[in-house]
């Protein structure tokens, strides 16, 4: 795929996930070859006539026939995207970016901490580790959503949980009587999560403040800074390290990231201005 020219993809399926989040499943119009990617990579999605935005791939890395993206409608492009339907066409450039360290994590416990839409970029990691289950120790997913109605991929989480070889703990920030799950921020789940801090790799995706407090809790549990990975979001244009739009200190999020170890970006993380 040419890095600067979008290829056309047709929407095969449009799934409304929650009140503001949707998933599209795409198939290439131009090529019969599948779309291969690694967990954590993203595409630049072009909504014709509106604009182009970076969105992580949320599907199964082992199924190259279908390209899947899950998006929350927050602004101009994503709200137009939310109006698309089966049969519509979008432009795709990618996959771009450094993936989650699923290979480096072999032999370790895996702790995945996701907040809100942050579960989407981490779902390919879950598919990958479950398909290669024997290579990993304990697998723990800690997921925080705003309310029970905002829980993403709920049915699928229930299905994963029924496998019994993954611990999934979900919490919501607010709920009314009738909800029998946890209420409280996702960071409160970390102190008692069942992982071995000496042999654990953590992968975090969510709003930056959530990631900051999650890191604090993981370090308190004894995890090294080089064992904690986060994914960063900045506005992007080219997606391939040319334009400088996504510059973060000396790094370009689009090509040096979006996944970084905390050790690499500790000096930048949470800084007001760079």
């Amino acid at each position: 795929m040419q890095a600067m020219i979008p290829s056309s993809y047709r929407i095969q399926k449009f799934i409304k996930e929650t009140q503001d989040t949707f998933t599209i499943e795409l198939k290439s119009i131009e090529s019969k070859n599948g779309f291969t990617f690694e967990p954590g990579q993203f595409n630049m999605i072009y909504i014709y006539g509106i604009g182009e935005i970076p969105i992580s791939i949320s599907g199964d890395p082992n199924k190259s026939g279908i390209l899947t993206h899950t998006t929350r409608a927050v602004g101009i492009v994503t709200k137009e995207m939310a109006k698309l339907k089966k049969g519509d066409i979008v432009g795709i450039r990618g996959p771009f970016g450094r993936p989650w360290p699923v290979r480096e994590a072999v032999g370790n416990d895996i702790v995945i901490v996701a907040g809100g839409i942050g579960l989407a970029p981490l779902r390919p990691v879950i598919y990958h580790v479950l398909e290669n289950r024997e290579y990993y120790g304990r697998i723990i997913l800690l997921y925080g959503a705003r309310t029970p109605q905002d829980i993403l991929f709920r049915k699928e989480l229930e299905k994963f949980r029924s496998r019994l070889d993954i611990d999934i703990i979900v919490t919501v920030d607010r709920a009314i009587k009738g909800w029998t799950g946890n209420v409280g921020v996702v960071t409160t789940l970390i102190p008692r999560a069942p992982f071995d801090p000496i042999n654990t790799i953590a992968m975090i995706c969510g709003p930056e403040i959530m990631m900051r407090y999650t890191i604090i809790e993981l370090i308190k549990r004894g995890l090294g800074k080089d064992k904690i990975y986060v994914t960063m979001e900045r506005n992007m244009k080219c997606g391939i390290g040319f334009c400088g739009h996504c510059q973060y200190g000396t790094e370009f999020i689009c090509k040096d990231g979006p996944v970084f170890s905390y050790k690499e970006i500790e000096h930048l993380f949470g800084k007001r201005e760079l």
Partner: protein
Amino acid sequence: MIESLEKVLVQHPFVEGLKPEHISLIVGCAKNVVFEPGKYLFKEGEDANSFYIIRSGKVALEVYSPEKGSIIIQTLDEGDIIGWSWMVPPYQWKFDARAVELTRVIELDGNCLRSKCEDDQSLGYEIMKRLANVFDNRISAMRMQLLDLFGKS
């Protein structure tokens, strides 16, 4: 009975590291209680006579709003403690606490604990240090909750 309560109590993170003589003192204020799902440990406005150490189960802290019904502010489970209103005048609960599942707790009598903390201030200081840690964690969590991070920006 007291001996077995002591064994259960020493395993709880809240009392971890407490001197044996202090544990013996607080065991004198303790009893083992089980709440069926849906039962209230206490309700807002009632006298706060107890301090709860959760052994297993899940408890929802709730505030009732006439418009929205009961809103769950937080859930607590194994390893958590509930309540410090037994220590702060006017010794009244400021929220409801409801067992979401079958919940086993060690209930400490607030008056008894308060007087033991007054009599032996080294015990009082140990309890305060542990409670301060709980306050710190809960306040940090509450701040994050207030930021409504997953809401519309």
